[in-house]
């Protein structure tokens, strides 16, 4: 029964997110502010369903949902959409953020559903208290970076409009450029700190699981690379005064490093220690 409810809700989520993503795209391309508003009101019930799936999966399996593609998509997407909804509820002018987070969550959820929807037994290698800390901070970092990229995109669109000297109320409804710029930086900082905690928690866990804090595993190296690059972005902003468009573009580009770290490596590389399952104990 729980499985059925979970499946129905998951597909409901996917369809609503798909509809919202379409409305968001149409709204942005054709400057229809009303469509953005409708999409945000669609996202909220979908987020409630998403929360129920997240909770059901946790209760059903007994562990923090971080095992396999679908659970990672549920958790990662939950944080990304959660931040979007939270910001929208705090400030309605932040409605455009969903343009980045909702399509990303939709693709992740769809991929997860097609790959392995049923819960997998938790491998011995994942039975650790560090799982929750490590994965939760990783997903919070992803959510924060996704929001920073969303702010980056909104900044560029609004700034393009300003540069063209185009009039109209569509982009006027978004916050001032300086506010978008600061909000983007806030989320970079948030992601940077949570990613550091994720890396540190992972290193401590790795010592218990693999015997060394750092093993130059592709996933470890990519997470370090993305962390260093975001650190560089913070340095550029704080000490060299990079802001506005330059920082916005940087945020959009840097999100790719996080996506590669979380979802890209395991599909390309075979020798990663971050692929958990049968071979983690019997090989």
């Amino acid at each position: 029964m729980t499985e059925l409810i979970e499946n129905i809700l998951a597909w409901l989520c996917i369809y609503i997110y798909a509809g919202a993503a379409l409305l968001l795209l149409t709204g942005f391309i054709f400057n229809k502010e009303r469509l953005l508003r409708i999409s945000n009101y669609l996202i909220m019930p979908a987020f409630v369903a998403h929360t129920v799936i997240f909770a059901l999966r946790w209760v059903r399996t007994g562990y923090f949902p971080a095992n396999g593609e679908l659970e990672n998509a549920i958790t990662g997407g939950w944080f990304a959409v959660g931040f979007t909804v939270y910001l929208f509820l705090r400030n309605r002018t932040f409605s455009g953020l969903a343009l980045f987070t909702v399509p990303a969550t939709l693709l992740l959820l769809g991929y997860g559903m097609m790959k392995a929807p049923a819960p997998l037994p938790l491998a011995a290698s994942l039975k650790s208290s560090w799982l929750l800390v490590h994965v939760m901070f990783a997903q919070v970092a992803f959510g924060a970076y996704a929001i920073a990229s969303g702010f980056g995109l909104v900044y560029i669109l609004k700034d393009n409009n300003r540069r063209k000297g185009a009039s109209g109320s569509f982009y006027e409804k978004f916050p001032r450029l300086e506010v978008i710029d600061e909000s983007m930086f806030k989320f970079v900082v948030y992601g940077f700190i949570t990613e550091l905690i994720m890396i540190v928690a992972g290193a401590i866990w790795a010592k218990d699981l693999w015997g060394s804090y750092w093993g130059w595993d592709p996933v470890e190296v990519w997470s370090l690379v993305s962390w260093l690059l975001y650190g560089l972005a913070i340095h550029l902003r704080v000490t060299l005064g990079w802001r506005g468009r330059r920082l916005a573009w940087l945020m959009i580009i840097l999100l790719s490093t996080v996506i590669i770290t979380y979802w890209g490596i395991d599909t390309v590389v075979e020798n990663s220690r971050h692929i958990f399952g049968v071979k983690s104990v019997t090989q």
């Binding site: 037994p121 491998a123 290698s125 039975k127 905690i197 540190v200 060394s212 550029l236 104990v281």
Partner: protein, 467 residues
């Protein structure tokens, strides 16, 4: 003089933020290359790596430059060295500046009443109170709001600071890198890591020859403290082909302290500088070989990696020309003429056995516990079946500075970027019952977002003074 000029230039270079940014970018590039270029440790054997090196000139060049072990290559070590010198120089050079930013340098904040009055972003509060009384009230108000109030250089000027100690986060964060470096280097130079396979009932008495693979030999503190192990029992469980539990019951003697310990995946045994982890599990059947007359020729527990229907092969000492290839069925079942297992639990164990002599197959069949396979010149069977576990034994020093470095990095970042400094300049102007307090607020990193908070703070101050 020339030496001094050169020294100044070098220090200026290492103190340059652009230089730091370049180093971070170069290190990122090196780490990225490590993912793209073939790495020595990815090859299954040394011979395979050597063959790859000989295959082309490019491979030879990569090997010569150390790029096939890129994380320890001279270039990476050089970049890391430069990065840490850069960190050290920046930290030392910024120290007086940071003290100043925390207002510990002894200098009072300096700004003029006229400046504040003329500032467009300043606001003011009108009051009938005298300057002396107001300064006392300001002190009480900001203390209640958890702001520090500092007296300015000029009379009747003040600076209120929220998160006064925030700049110290910079020092902690940079210091954390140095601690991580110290811990990391200590671990790299003292780390001993080796693999040890023990079958149930087998002991390890500290003899280094018992390790079947030494992954890392220490460059310092080469002798290992005494450690002895006895593997009593192993238990494991699988669900849908996924290993969900591995429990090893051991007796561990470290120096004179002997204790019984339970080891699980994710729950290693830590004794002194040693960490013992379980890596792999397998079965160890006791194979006994007899000649045609029934005389025992050989007998040994053979550690096989055959769980999950994987194939493994071995040779026995009595005649090394014979190759035995086996597949294991923990709970043997013949279904539709096909050999399989009911479950992964060992209930009715059987081995599918193929025996070859110098490439020629001389026997193929399945043997169960107690049964014997007739291979012509000899018979072979297994009477007992135990489990073996591959342990990883690690000895290293340097954990404390590393963990302290991790903690300081997190604290430093949070202090600097979450609890960033907010400042409000205040000046009292006027006398004889007609005073004005001028206020101007700003914050690090987020001055625009601070505008609302500043307005709220000014309103609260007004209410406080009126009340």
């Amino acid at each position: 003089m020339t030496g001094y000029v050169l020294y100044r230039k070098v220090i200026r270079l290492f103190n340059n933020v652009k230089f730091s940014a370049c180093l971070i970018a170069l290190l990122t590039l090196v780490y990225f290359l490590g993912l793209v270029l073939p790495q020595k440790r990815m090859f299954p054997a040394r011979e395979a790596y050597e063959k790859w090196v000989d295959a082309s000139l490019l491979n030879k060049c990569l090997d010569w430059a150390g790029f096939t072990d890129i994380y320890l290559s001279p270039l990476t070590v050089l970049l890391l060295g430069l990065f840490f010198i850069n960190l050290l120089v920046v930290t030392l050079k910024r120290f007086p500046l940071i003290l100043g930013r925390m207002y510990f340098s002894g200098e009072k904040p300096s700004f003029r009443v006229a400046e504040l009055k003329a500032s467009k972003s300043a606001t003011f509060i009108t009051t009938t109170k005298e300057a002396g009384e107001l300064s006392q009230q300001l002190g009480r108000f900001f203390s209640r709001q958890r702001w520090s109030l500092l007296e300015g250089k000029d009379a009747n000027t003040f600076l209120a600071v929220k998160n006064r100690l925030s700049p110290a986060g910079f020092l902690l964060f940079h210091l954390s890198f140095l601690l991580c470096l110290a811990g990391g280097l200590s671990i790299a130079y003292t780390r001993f890591s080796a693999k040890l396979a023990l079958t149930e009932g087998q002991t390890f008495e500290g003899d280094i020859r018992q390790f079947h693979r030494i992954d890392r030999e220490p460059k310092m503190f080469k002798s290992l403290p005494s450690l002895a192990l006895l593997l009593d029992k192993v238990d494991y469980s699988f669900e849908k082909g996924t290993p969900t539990e591995l429990v090893a019951d051991l007796q561990v003697a470290y120096r004179s302290d002997k204790r019984r310990e339970i080891l699980r995946i994710n729950e290693p045994i830590n004794r002194g500088p040693f960490t013992l982890l379980a890596q792999t599990i397998g079965v160890s059947p006791l194979f006994i070989v007899r000649d045609r007359g029934g005389r025992e020729l050989d007998g040994a527990y053979v550690s096989l990696n055959v769980l999950n229907e994987r194939e493994d092969a071995f040779r026995l000492a009595f005649d090394r020309r014979y190759l035995f290839t086996v597949t294991f069925f923990p709970d043997y079942l013949l279904r539709d003429g096909k050999e399989t297992t009911r479950s992964i639990q060992v209930k009715n164990p059987a081995f599918h056995l193929r025996i070859e002599r110098e490439g020629d197959k001389i026997y193929e069949g399945t043997i169960r516990r107690g049964a014997r396979a007739d291979a012509g010149p000899f018979t072979i069977g297994f009477n007992d079946l135990r489990f073996w576990v591959e342990f990883q034994l690690v000895r290293e020093y340097g954990k404390s500075p590393l963990i302290l470095g991790f903690v300081l990095a997190a604290i430093g970042l949070i202090m600097r970027l979450v609890f960033y400094q907010k400042r409000v300049k205040l000046a009292i102007d006027g006398a004889n019952g007609h005073s004005r307090i001028y206020l101007e607020g700003t914050s690090e990193y987020f001055p625009h977002s601070f505008e609302d908070e500043f307005r709220t703070l000014a309103d609260k101050l007004k209410q406080y003074l009126e009340g």
